[in-house]
């Protein structure tokens, strides 16, 4: 999540009311620049720098906090690694890792590969829902129905407060109908996952939407002869790249780690497969859990990278004033 916050701007005001939206558009001096960029007057940057210097915790405190947080995260991971390295006859070796790739065990581990396949399919479908349903909806609300922004936000953040198990109870009858209509393929879980990733995807995209002046960019493009397709693909998508990418990556991470819904709705994904295999071979389950963790970690790292790279490129200080 650390990477996510960097991609976004603190929301400026509440463009909920048209008046606020109008005044925001009128007063925004440099709305098209990411917030990291210096304001045209350049007066803001140094001030915020000074503030941060005074309110930041002292160095020692910083290290203590980092140490505690690090331990909380590292101890379980380290013990997982230690566990997977235990040789059957005592001592440590890589036998559990090699066993995973041994063709002789193919049958035993087959559910895992199937689960992995299912999870990837789900990840792709969920990302498609985020990119082609959620993002356009949010853009539409920003441009045409600014009054709906708060309700939409509420709706999108709602899943955070609903435990997965409650969601499943509600979804079960719906999935009966879905099963009859389009089959019980594992991909149908994407509908449920589309809901569970909403809060994360919404935050990522909204932060980016707040950082650019969607309305002015759209109107500029329209006045230059762009149809709505061009506005979305050639103007908005490139400027929402960071938000869309973050939303996609975090959705992938959430989907790959999901267990409850898949299990209760009787679909096979990576986590349910791990659960099954865990009963026969706990080592392999832990190895895969570690790999999934590593994958998620790399994804988050990528999110952070994407954010800073874009911010850097756009905010390169200009050299000569007019």
């Amino acid at each position: 999540m650390a990477g996510l916050t960097r991609t976004g701007a603190p929301s400026t005001g509440m463009p909920g009311t048209p008046d606020a939206a109008a005044s925001a558009a009128a007063s925004a001096a440099a709305p098209t620049v990411t917030p990291a960029a210096p304001s045209p007057s350049g007066a803001r940057a140094p001030r915020s720098g000074r503030v941060r210097a005074t309110i930041a915790p002292r160095r020692a405190t910083t290290w203590v906090i980092l140490g505690v947080v690090g331990l909380v995260f590292l101890i379980p991971i380290a013990s997982m690694v230690e566990f997977t390295l235990r040789a059957t006859g005592g001592g440590y070796d890589l036998s559990h890792y090699t066993a995973l790739l041994d063709p002789a065990n193919a049958g035993k581990y087959a559910p895992i590969w199937r689960g992995l396949q299912g999870s990837f399919l789900l990840a792709i479908t969920t990302v498609a829902i985020v990119l082609f349903l959620l993002a356009p909806t949010m853009i539409l609300v920003t441009l045409r129905f600014p009054k709906l922004r708060r309700p939409l936000e509420f709706l999108c953040l709602l899943p955070l407060s609903i435990p997965a198990i409650v969601l499943v109870v509600g979804l079960a009858p719906i999935y009966l109908a879905i099963g009859r209509a389009v089959g019980t393929g594992v991909w149908t879980l994407a509908f449920a996952y589309g809901v569970t990733v909403l809060p994360y995807a919404y935050r990522a995209i909204q932060a980016n939407l707040d950082a650019i002046d969607v309305r002015t960019l759209t109107e500029a493009a329209r006045s230059l002869g762009a149809g709505w397709g061009s506005v979305l693909l050639k103007v908005l998508a490139p400027n929402l790249r960071v938000g869309l990418l973050s939303a996609s990556l975090i959705s992938v991470a959430v989907v790959l780690g999901e267990f409850t819904i898949a299990s209760l709705l009787n679909r096979q994904n990576l986590q349910t497969a791990l659960f099954v295999v865990n009963k026969q071979d706990p080592y392999v389950a832990v190895i895969l859990a570690l790999l999934a963790l590593l994958f998620a970690f790399l994804l988050l790292l990528l999110i952070g990278r994407v954010g800073t790279a874009a911010a850097l490129r756009r905010s390169t200080p200009r050299k000569d004033p007019t």
Partner: protein, 369 residues
């Protein structure tokens, strides 16, 4: 009038940077006429435009001038098709464009807010509209560079908007709006975010380019000085209506309403008695510019129509404040009868708070309110 203004401007324009060989200038632009007929616009039941009527000739530069919230931007947005009016007709080049979407209206638009696409360089931004019109890449690039040259930024083509100053960004936005050779150029306070010096510079540049391309231009501003400086005609708006439309000279000399008199230029309001088409102000009997029945009237005096009088003549007054403005001084006075007067005079005459002077009118006729 229009042609007169054009000639003067063309001659005085600093033309060093751009030469006559610029392809954008050479090809010219066929400006189209614009007309608003009884246009009504409401936001949630609140009426913002009350039956707006406005005719703009092809190639004309018309400013919409008025205080904040009077509906200037709204009028421009209706013309651009970014807002749909509740009533009335908007025509561009004689055709009703009510059902033509913005992207098909063939307009160029520069916004108050910086509107360059942040992910594209200056030249790519400028090429955008050409891309939408399916112009080939190489040709689009040449034309974009020519447009950037027109605004004096040919060497800045590879910069991203964040690497340009505010004034440069607005210049690129202008180039981007002009490169497609639109029929109408719409400018919504494009200069308001810029500092005073750049504002004047870019304002004159916009006017110069407009004259060279002969492009129909609607310029929204709340700065009367800006409007006076560049426009063929000015439409003064107030509360969603046009109070008066005319050349800068007409508006300045003969404001049709008190609002226009107040808004365009500084003026002092002086109570007087009308008698047979004349009124007496500060001891001088002068003809009224508009017909009024005999009785009390209010006449308007511009600061330059008031001067210091020789001893014994004119009206005694006390200096309230005197401001040095470089080549001249502007002084606020109060006459013995309690009327507030603004006077403009040579910087050599140093007046200070509390000085007692005598003033008289230097005009040969009087504008009536």
């Amino acid at each position: 009038m229009t042609t007169e203004a054009r000639v003067t401007h063309a001659e005085t324009a600093p033309d060093a940077r751009t030469t006559g060989s610029n392809p954008l200038v050479a090809s010219g632009i066929d400006g189209a006429s614009v007309s608003f007929r009884d246009v009504v616009k409401e936001y949630g039941g609140h009426r913002v435009l009350h039956g707006l009527d406005l005719d703009i000739a092809a190639g004309e530069f018309v400013s919409l001038l008025g205080p904040s919230g009077c509906g200037k931007t709204t009028a421009l947005r209706v013309l651009a098709g970014l807002e749909s009016p509740e009533g009335g007709v908007v025509r561009i080049g004689g055709t009703d464009v009510s059902h033509v979407p913005t992207n098909k209206r063939d307009l160029g638009m520069v916004f108050q807010a910086y509107s360059l696409f942040p992910h594209l360089t200056a030249v790519e931004n400028t090429m955008f509209g050409l891309g939408m019109r399916k112009v080939k890449k190489a040709e689009a690039r040449d034309r974009a560079l020519a447009a950037l040259e027109l605004v004096g930024l040919r060497d800045f083509g590879d910069r991203y908007p964040a690497m340009l100053s505010g004034g440069q960004q607005q210049r690129v936005a202008l180039a981007r709006a002009l490169v497609t050779e639109p029929r109408v150029l719409l400018l919504d306070e494009p200069l308001s975010a810029l500092d005073a010096k750049v504002r004047v510079q870019l304002r004159d540049e916009i006017r110069r380019i407009q004259l060279r391309l002969a492009i129909t231009t609607v310029f929204v501003t709340h700065d009367q000085e800006e409007a006076l400086a560049v426009s063929d005609r000015i439409a003064v708006m107030n509360g969603g209506r046009i109070e008066q439309i005319g050349t800068p000279e007409e508006l300045y000399r003969d404001p049709a309403t008190p609002f226009v008199a107040d808004f365009v230029g500084l003026s002092s309001v002086i109570p007087a008695e009308a008698m047979g088409g004349h009124a007496t102000v500060f001891g001088a009997r002068l003809p009224l510019r508009a017909e009024r029945p005999d009785g009390p009237v209010e006449v308007l005096l511009r600061p330059e129509n008031v001067r210091l009088a020789a001893d014994g003549r004119g009206e005694p007054a006390t200096v309230l404040e005197s401001t040095f403005l470089g080549s001249l001084r502007r002084t606020r006075l109060r006459t013995e009868s309690g009327v507030a007067i603004r006077m403009q005079h040579s910087a050599d005459e140093r007046l200070a708070f509390g000085d007692n002077v005598r003033i008289e009118v230097s005009a040969d006729s009087l504008a009536v309110r």
